[in-house]
């Protein structure tokens, strides 16, 4: 019990912050209201600090992932928070400026920050999930707030549309993985991931395969979770939702649910283990063939569909949405590759590669989205309320180098990073995926990955050349101006600097990811402790989630 609580201090810190933010946001005093963001920031920093210093629960298959994931969530969360400035309350505060009365009950400022923090908390919980129930709740906690965030992010119909699509399709995905979880439980009799893993793998060691029920459960739950990472065939919502939501929220969507999804996928796939070979369990270092084919197909389709569809887009956010799909495909390669041989390093451990890639992708996507988030379109003639709109069309970035050179630079660096151009961070992210997949013998997959990177180059180059190389004014009649929230641009600059600096001297980050990717096979000793700890694990974990569950809403 104590152990479990110790694991949860970061989430607790965030929860406390959430409560604080919700209260503060209701204040009639604008100065106090404005404290929401700093408080959130402090909360995230504290959570990150706590996560970095907590001990590691060694009883799980991915013992070090929780810590890494939480710190990662806090770190990128901080950048996302900077991006969030003014997203929800812009209209409101403008209205107050114009003399309208502040109505706490109609304000969405506090809730917005609270949702943000809740979702982040869900992500952190995901990273540390040790039980299917836990994982289910964490995933839901990650997702539910984002539905609201999308719908409320702007007042346009598009946000509504995005919200409704996201919510309904998300619910379908959730139902799917829930059903899968149920089947897994049915196949193993337990929801504790370690037990599930042990049982499944023991069975596999006996019969050579993991059994149809467990397989069905795993497949269904994986397919459900594919929604979170926007993988084919669960990707259809992505572009629409990303485009409809406010840019800052899109950035959030591109990172947080995806991250949670990958944590979940790794945990679930880890239950089946990477010890299958041509002669069944124990004869190699691959996934069970069925799962491998499933993930292989999904990975290939995902990266291809993402990259290919991005080619024709003219909306920056849609381009980035499809690119986000493609990147999920890339990361699935790491999942397929698996942890590699014992004591493998980042170069041969696909899970570590995925974890590192999440970091690099998070930073780079924040960078790219920050450019659109830091700009807005203002109708020249009027200063009316509705005249401000988001920058979306790629032509609106034309000539950016002349007007906002720093944003142009951010776009160039981050887009090239996403492209995987050395020596930027994106390249270092992709390289371990390459090597680990090669190590797992997935040469075809590597070649497809490579070719996809090349396809991707086509649209990333557009993202580079339009703002940086093309001169002239945007073709729209409206002026494209920077938003009055410098922190958005700052987030982008920070991300861009990180992309460069970490590319040159990111060894430490890589080492952390390498450690976080350590995968342990469930051992005999675990089974011994299982019976002892079973009551506690089943009792202790759900209450935690249960406490948070209702409060999250």
């Amino acid at each position: 019990m104590n152990n479990v609580i110790a694991q949860l201090w970061p989430e607790i810190a965030l929860f406390v912050t959430t409560c604080l933010v919700m209260v503060v946001g209701l204040s009639k005093d604008r100065g106090t209201r404005k404290l929401c963001a700093p408080i959130s920031a402090i909360g995230i920093i504290v959570a990150g600090y706590l996560a970095a210093t907590t001990s590691v629960d060694t009883a799980t298959t991915l013992p070090f992932m929780a810590k890494y994931g939480k710190v990662l969530a806090a770190g990128v969360g901080l950048l996302l928070l900077m991006l969030m400035a003014g997203t929800a309350d812009r209209q409101l505060e403008d209205a107050v400026d114009r003399g309208e009365k502040f109505e706490p009950l109609r304000s969405t400022r506090a809730e917005f920050y609270a949702f943000f923090l809740f979702s982040l908390m869900g992500l952190m919980l995901c990273a540390g999930a040790s039980d299917l129930i836990f994982l289910f709740l964490a995933l839901e906690l990650t997702s539910l707030p984002t539905y609201v965030m999308v719908a409320l992010s702007t007042r346009r119909d598009r946000s509504m549309e995005a919200g409704v699509k996201y919510f309904f399709l998300g619910a379908m995905g959730a139902a799917m993985f829930l059903f899968g979880f149920a089947l897994i439980y049915g196949a193993t009799g337990s929801t504790a991931l370690a037990d599930v893993a042990y049982t499944i793998q023991n069975r596999a060691a006996g019969t050579g395969s993991i059994g149809p029920l467990a397989l069905t459960g795993l497949v269904l739950s994986l397919l459900g979770v594919m929604f979170k990472i926007a993988a084919v065939p669960m990707h259809f919502y992505t572009a629409d939702v990303y485009q409809g939501a406010a840019s800052s929220v899109t950035a959030f969507l591109a990172f947080v649910p995806k991250c949670a999804g990958f944590f979940a996928i790794m945990l679930l796939v880890g239950c089946a283990g990477w010890a299958f070979g041509p002669d069944g369990y124990g004869s190699g270092t691959a996934l069970p063939p069925e799962l491998r084919i499933l993930l292989w197909t999904i990975a290939v389709l995902t990266m291809t569909v993402g990259n290919v569809l991005a080619l024709l887009q003219t909306s920056v956010k849609r381009i980035l949405a499809y690119s986000s799909i493609a990147h999920s495909g890339y990361m699935l390669v790491g999942v397929i590759a698996g942890p590699g041989p014992a004591e493998s390093t980042l170069a041969s451990n696909g899970l570590a590669a995925v974890l590192f890639y999440l970091l690099t992708y998070g930073v780079m996507s924040v960078g790219t989205f920050s450019v659109v988030a830091a700009l807005e379109r203002r109708r020249r003639a009027t200063a009316a309320d509705a005249a401000i709109d988001e920058v979306d069309h790629i032509d609106e970035l034309r000539g950016l180098w002349k007007r906002q050179p720093h944003l142009a630079a951010v776009m160039v660096i981050c887009a090239l990073g996403l492209l995987g151009l050395p020596p930027l961070l994106g390249f270092l992210g992709k390289l371990p995926l390459f090597t680990s997949a090669l190590g797992a013998g997935e040469i075809v997959l590597v070649v497809i990955l490579g070719l996809n990177s090349a396809i991707a180059a086509a649209y990333y180059l557009r993202l580079v050349s339009v703002p940086f190389l093309e001169s002239g004014e945007p073709s729209t009649p409206d002026a494209v101006v920077p938003t009055p929230f410098p922190s958005r641009a700052l987030a982008g600059v920070v991300a861009a600097v990180l992309v460069v600096v970490a590319g040159l001297a990111g060894g430490t980050l890589g080492s952390h990811a390498e450690r976080a990717g350590t995968f342990r096979f469930p051992t005999k000793t675990m089974e011994a402790t299982r019976h002892a700890s079973q009551p506690t694990s089943t009792v202790s974990v759900p209450p935690d989630a249960a406490e948070r569950g209702p409060n999250a809403r």
Partner: protein
Amino acid sequence: MSGLAGQLAIMHETLGSLALAAGDAAHAQPRFGTGVGAKFDVPRLFGLIPFIPLLACALCGLCAAMKVKTKLPAAITVGCLLASFGLTIGLYAQVHANPGDFAIIHAFEWINFQWGQSEAQSLTANFSFYADSLTALWMLFVTGLATLIALYASEYMSHDVGQGYCRFFMAFSLFVFSMACLVMGDNLALLFLGWEGVGLCSYLLIGYFYKKPSAVAAAKKAFVVNRIGDLGLSLGVMLAFVQFGSLEYAEIFRKAEPFLALARDGQWQDIPWTVQLIPILLTIGAFGKSAQLPLYVWLPDAMEGPTPVSALIHAATMVTAGVYLVARMFPLFLVSEHALTIVAWGGALTALLAATIGMAQFDIKRIMAYSTVSQLGYMFCGLGVMGVMGGPAHVFTHAFFKAMLFLACGAVMHGFAGQLDLRKLSGLGKMPGWRIVTVAMFVGCINLAGVPFITAGFYSKDTILGDAFANPAMVPIGWILLITAGLTAYYTFRVFFRVFVGPAYYEPGDELHAHDDHSHDHAHANKDHGHDSHGHGHSAWQPHPPGWAINTVLILLTILSFAAIVTVFKADGWLYRMVTNSSAGAGIAADHHHKFFGFDAHAAMKVVSGIVAIAGIAVAFVLHYSGRTSAATSKADSLVPMLGPIPRWAQNKWYVDEFYHFLFVRPLWLLSVVFAAIDKVLVDGLVNVFGWVPKALAKTARPLQNGVLHDYALRMAGGVALLLLIIVLMVNRGDRTSAAASIPPTDNSIGTLPAAPAAVDPIAVSLDPIRAKAQEAVR
């Protein structure tokens, strides 16, 4: 021209030494081997021979850069060439003192590369010079003639003083440098350097009047056709390297020794075909440079260049490079069963063909060009029939009189504003100031025609004919050459009788500076190339006779042409020894004594060829001199219709150019067009397909993103169902296969999973006791 006196002095010296050499009765024994003796040392000073002209080239370049508007470049060139000539005489003296031996003068490293210890693993080709008598022979007339012709050109080119003048002398000196490298180089790579270098200079000088499209085309043609030859040469060089492990003559000759022994015994089958192939490849190069069939087509066109260039490069020196190559590499030619036959036949056919074309031309310079081609054919025959001496000897004598003929033509052209049509010039000898030119022309013509006993040309040509008839295998060639000799005498004197004697008449050419070669249609040419000269009416225009420089050079050459007799009139004279004391001497081994109708071939030829030459001249006299009243017509015109279309064909050069154009140039051009199309459509198209496929995919997939919520849901569910189906199918198949081979993994050490109770299902075990309860509970 302060250099003139010194030059004359040196000329005297040379002549003296030649005469001396000629009188020297003691000659080297015929040696059976590669003809290469021992190595001796000469001062490195002689290594400067090629580089002095290079210095001249650089200085002329400097003049061009400084926009010198005087005749300074000519002075520099003449001075430097004179110095070079002086050194050459010194070198000759050294070589003369060591008959049969050779010297290596190392200048500096060029390619010197060793990447392993074996022979094949090093490549050495330095700027080193190989000095033996063949080198000396060639260098003597190259530098000597170059000096004289530079002097001639200083006047001839005077209308172009300034940039063009500098350019001319730059290329001129560069040519001498290249030629010197070609002749003196001690390895095939340096020879190749010179080989291509003279090609470049030839290109630059043919295209000297670069505004004329015909000159540009001719220059290009010369370079490209030469390159085809160079291709053969370079392959030959490479094959020689691979065969002998070296590019250096001395080494190659040493290695060829055993093959030579085999060849002498006629054991051709024991000589590897690679060895036998080398000379054939070299022949391609030689034929290219020396304008032999099938690569002769560039030389007539090369007459677009200024006349001094034609004289030096395209008559006297450069075109003999091929002959030099064959002579120099003679040991290799001897070890090849067919190479010399190819050389001989190539030469003979070229000689005949060019002579027939030459007979039908009206442009006197062009006639000279074809005669050059024809005479080069003789030279190759001289080598090809294994006579050895005839070839170099003819090169030597031909150099003087042919240069002179060209220079005389040049003087005419210079004086008559580019007029070269023998139908528009007549009786020049009667005009004031043209006497020297006429005499020079006459001397040149009798040399070329081979008037017996008094001309050097007679002796050298005679040697070749004799050698041909002496070699039983080459008798047909002898007949061809004999016929050609008659034709040569005819067309040579056709020019002389039409232009220099008979009624005086002239029409000025259409150009003051450049000449025009369109002998066939002047009216048309006038329209095409009408420039400023339109304003010059005939009445206002006066021919200007040559000045002192031209005349001096012509006089000197006249003397030299005659003087050359001393080198050849004895069968074992000076030239003989110059040749036999070098690597070309290897050919002496093949000493044939076939009879010409029972007579000694050489002796018989002295009579027969003399008769043939006289006969040819007589025919020319009858047709073109006796009773000719106008410039444009002659008795020959009445004979032309009797020959049917042949004269027209010959006048049109047997349509060889057109034939080449349709056989090679056009198809190659079409091929290029096709390649360009393939590149655009197929190669690049394929690349573009790779770019197009993703976009096409995107266009196909895009409608799926139609924005409708439940369509999305349907697609997601469908996708999930599809994936599940795949899995299910897999599981079913997997079950079957695993059932077929249901051997539980016994060796658990493979996996990282610790040994699990393989046979026991943990769930089954743990749940079994409770299951009864469960059933109860459910009930």
